[in-house]
Assembly symmetry: D2
Homo-oligomer: 298 residues x 4
């Protein structure tokens, strides 16, 4: 078992840290929210009063933060952790941020002798709670292997996509594709419904045909087709529209920089963006199903 | 074993009729192409000189034709089969046509006492040859069950989507979704490649994450990632761009009639349409991967 | 001055009939709504109790109806006007319907010796009231010229696009383009606003640059930039989202039939469709400006 | 008349500098290309051997460069012009670059006491040669007014969009809109053509209806409709696809940063990007008309 400094205890980070503590690791946790801190101490973590005290002397530093500037600030800002960490420690940043920011932070840490991998996750709040997340890592092989000691207690899959930053790239590629699967599946189910087909029957058919995809398998967007998913719970819980919109923005930023052509990913970014703007930002991202309802009241 | 009149022996119909003959059914086959006829006789079918002679006295009539007017003409045209068939025979139309045409033909046949189901297929030429097609049927339960006696020897799945015409609806919903999966997966792989990721590694990661879908499982569009698929064979074989464009046109016609909103399905219809127009109509539909190449020569 | 039978006195037809009456024509008007009938009698038209009585013996029959089936029914249905009209009369159908329906009705009338032109309009309710409509006509040159005797008193431009049905084609081409102008202009103004630019200044600049278009000239979608337009009146009045969605559906039906590639027109059809579905169907079509608001509340 | 240091003599900058010289200004020109330098000396400018010698002591410095890093480097790089210029000189950057870069360069120059405006242009190579460009300026009112002394001799319109950087914002808003006008107009003309309409007649009709826009007025994309435009010259000359793709990339970068929703602008960026990738990058941007041809060979 290892000692872990865990910073960022939100909807994702909280249950991840709790799972580490339950697995027997010694977790020193920090978050600005007292409530978030209290929740992880119940699972056996120690609440620390500063980020610096949380990382002092630990084997692994795990961070789960909202955006580029939080990560850059924490590690590289004035009084940043870079001045405190040593070459015995490994930094695992699980935040979903731009690959540029990951490369910038990772490179500076490694130049200072501190190991770094970017390890954004797939699987949502449900996966975080169940400990079934997928980690998509960027970094050298040795560091990714070393990280498994803690990643395996928070998830069931650990992939290495390439060098530092590659985890972020693979993550946004996956999430861009996920958005396309979700909107496409919603369109197909709505088109069937508009023609009188039973969405459950149609889902079953497409699931066993060439339309098969992750959303039909475990995350059907049509209310009533599947138990225990957000669509059957008024689109509460799950992966928020706001967060999907953020990831799609990262994907587009990257596509522009790379000169990539992504007509579908551009379209889903716009659809999720305006779905958020119309007040659905805190619903699960499968709520886009409702955006695609046929016009019936004419 | 049954007697089957089989009309339409193209890329799909040919291997389907051959599989029926190999399974021991007595197949009376007809097609305007002598070459196509010759091919199925090798598998044990009898070549007939007219459509009428092919269907006389058989238990099942199976048709696999290109478009609405071929099917309408064959069954309802002057000298159409409707005047020849009896209430002991079951018509199984495997063509992919509009649901309106299926409903029109099916209703007229049933009004004349002749059983009818629409049973379009999923699985492509590969599935037709391997006998692993999926049949998506519309018609009453009794007729769909009756049809299994022959469908099971051409495929591995038989679904009933609803009443007459529902097979066509479910088929275009599935294929519209398939086009979205294909373009979305191609975009994600190209975006990863443009950032230096190995498409094989990225495919593996997305396959085990929320980006998982049929194309990543069995039909990867990136050359070299998967053996035995069109992308690794210069996009030859498989499911032609022209045919996908046709199916997407049917889906959009239906969406317009039903008042459905399908931004992604509209976009893929346009992308495949102009990909066909630029000379790629006879390539496999996974060739859209090439349409999405990043600009590199600047 | 001529005698005119005018059928269909809605938001458009009402003021058009009134302008004819004011110009001195003898107008025999019919509509199922008593209220609509009352309004045009104030302008000098005679209210008739049936469509048949309205067209008896007149020089011109003008119709302004909502959809294909209304027009087909009126002229070709059981008890249709085709049985009543003579070769001395000219039918001018100003409805926006599919070109197929226009060709069907027009051809049958002409086969019966009755002159026909399709003459859909551009210019909206404002243009109908002000008598400044544009008529986009399909039919032979003689009939289009003959029609000017009445069209000139309802509008300021009369174009001949080609033979019967061509008016409808040109109309949907124009309206598809108009939808693109409106959404594109709204995006550009919102993007400028999100960057702190004054939409009035930006409108002025684009109006005198290569972004110039009809919406910037006379129909600015941003509230407060222009007086007397729907955007400055809470998007009331003008050309309803529902009607734009209908026209865009006609354009897409035609595009599918013609094998045309229209990525932008497909997208605007979907955007207007879902904007209608979300409850904005009776607002002016420039309200799409609001759909494109940046996300600000995050 | 003023003294002007002009740096960047490409397709746009060359004729702009020539027009200044012809108008009587004393122009000291610099470019890395000897050929470009030779061309402007014929118009009366003096060829200088370095950028530094070109700007020494002049009243105005005008730059027309390809991208962010060229502009940043020239002014702020090691040995940058910022160390050479004085508070008596005004810098007018006519390059189309990101507003961030314009703000960065402009702010540093102004902090050093040197006046700056960004003044990107609209009107293309034709406008540059004819001296009919539109300048869209960002900067304080005094500096924009001061700049008119030279801008008026290269163009016919000078607009002030707002403070430093606002010129670039307004320019990309305009060009994003222009791309939408061009693609939308091309779709409408192709749809009409596919239905047998004469593109000249349809253009005339839409020009006088609500489809009116700059491309129909002066830049019709359909070959043969209009004389003296790129479409009637095999899409040679004019505004290259590569450049439009670049501007649309800038627009999307800005939209992502601003949280703006631009479904049409995203789509045109992808269309122009893949049109470039397919080998049309050096054609005029109206060549997108060919991308939208209906499928005819089936």
């Amino acid at each position: 078992m290892a000692t872990v400094g865990f910073i960022g205890l939100g909807n994702m980070g909280g249950p991840m840290a709790a799972n580490l503590a339950k697995a027997g690791h010694q977790v020193k946790a920090f978050d600005l929210s007292e409530q978030a801190l209290a929740a992880v101490t119940e699972a056996g973590a120690s609440a620390m009063s500063t980020a610096r005290s949380a990382v002092e002397g630990v084997d692994f530093v795990v961070t789960m933060l909202p955006a580029d500037h939080h990560v850059k600030n924490l590690y590289l800002g004035s009084d940043g952790l870079i001045g405190l960490l040593s070459d015995k420690q490994l930094v695992i940043d699980c935040s979903t941020i731009s690959s540029e920011a990951a490369v910038e932070v990772g490179t500076e840490l490694e130049n200072a002798g501190i190991g770094f991998i970017d390890a954004p996750v797939s699987g949502g709040v449900g996966g975080a709670k169940a400990g079934t997340l997928t980690f998509i890592c960027g970094g050298n092989e040795e560091n990714v292997d070393r990280a498994r000691a803690v990643l395996n207690d928070m998830g069931k899959n650990v992939f290495r996509a390439g060098d530092i930053g590659a985890g972020q790239i693979a993550k946004i590629c996956n999430n861009m594709l996920l958005s396309v699967l979700m909107v496409g599946t919603s369109e197909a189910l709505q088109l069937g419904k508009a023609n009188g087909l039973d969405p459950q029957v149609l889902s079953e058919i497409m699931l066993q045909s060439s339309g098969r995809n992750w959303t039909l398998e475990v995350y059907n967007p049509c209310p009533g087709v599947m138990d225990g998913v957000p669509s059957s719970n008024d689109y509460q819980g799950g992966f928020m529209v706001d967060l999907m919109a953020k990831d799609l923005g990262l994907a587009q930023q990257n596509a522009l920089k790379a000169g990539a052509t992504t007509p579908m990913g551009s379209l889903t970014r716009n659809l999720y963006h305006s779905w958020a703007q119309q007040g659905h930002g805190r619903q699960d991202f499968s709520s886009i199903f409702n955006y695609l309802q046929p016009v019936t009241n004419k």
